[in-house]
């Protein structure tokens, strides 16, 4: 399948999160169902830096993981027929390796391991200055699709 990029406006067709929770600025390359990679520029103006923490600002780990999950979502919602669909997290395992600081670019790379019946298994890595900041194994779902395959309760 063809690879393409998404600017900050186009991205919003495939990623339902919005300010202040959209953790991606640009998608450099997405191959639907295979991978997505891009970045988030981090200025001191990000809403969380003044409070996490005063005098020692760094990007919360939960938001680093959110950025990875949002990028993995783009790798799925760019598949035919899935544009704009909402995804939910099912299970994430994450390892944090360094602080992510204001002034840096948080580079996000994600890969789809499997996509079947509304469940995506994938992995993601976040980088700053070319070094791994965090890495995660992720399980996300599009509930609207998953529910189509479920037995009726107590059948």
């Amino acid at each position: 399948m063809e690879t393409f990029s998404l600017d900050c406006i186009e991205l919003q067709n495939y990623q339902p999160n919005r300010y202040p929770f959209l953790m991606i600025d640009h998608v450099d390359a997405v191959c639907p169902g295979k991978f997505a990679r891009g970045y988030k520029h981090l200025t001191l103006n990000e809403w969380y830096f003044p409070i996490h923490f005063p005098g020692a600002p760094n990007m919360p780990g939960a938001l680093q993981l959110e950025a990875l999950a949002q990028m993995l979502t783009v790798a799925i919602t760019t598949l035919p027929g899935l544009k704009g669909m909402v995804t939910h997290a099912l299970q994430h395992t994450v390892r944090f390796r360094k602080e992510v600081l204001p002034g840096k670019t948080f580079v996000i790379e994600t890969e789809v391991i499997s996509w079947k019946r509304g469940i995506c298994k994938g992995k993601g890595i976040g980088f700053t200055d070319g070094e791994v900041a965090c890495e995660a194994d992720m399980l996300i779902t599009i509930p609207e699709i998953l529910e189509q395959y479920l037995p009726k309760k107590n059948s």
Partner: protein, 81 residues
């Protein structure tokens, strides 16, 4: 390994149960691990174990351990043989 052993092992591994609970009372959502995600994992594991690809209607109808045995017959898998 017999088909019955393969079938039971999928349930044991996917849902973390013991073989003594695998009977007609073992149904969808009867244990916390047989939830929506567990269901998809179990179906995928059965497809791998028996080299089949199940149709959507059969995945939806697969509401219990015993119903599953009936469903697999359609794909040439006789669990009770």
């Amino acid at each position: 390994m017999s088909n019955k052993e393969k079938y039971d092992n999928v349930f044991i591994e996917c849902f973390g149960v013991t073989s003594d609970v695998l009977n007609e009372k073992f149904i969808y959502q009867c244990v916390p691990t047989w939830d929506s995600v567990g269901h998809m994992g179990m179906i995928a594991a059965l497809e791998d174990a028996f080299g089949i690809m199940m149709e959507t209607d059969d995945i939806i109808d697969f509401g219990s351990y015993t119903i599953g045995i009936e469903k697999l017959r359609k794909y040439g898998v006789d669990v009770l043989a």
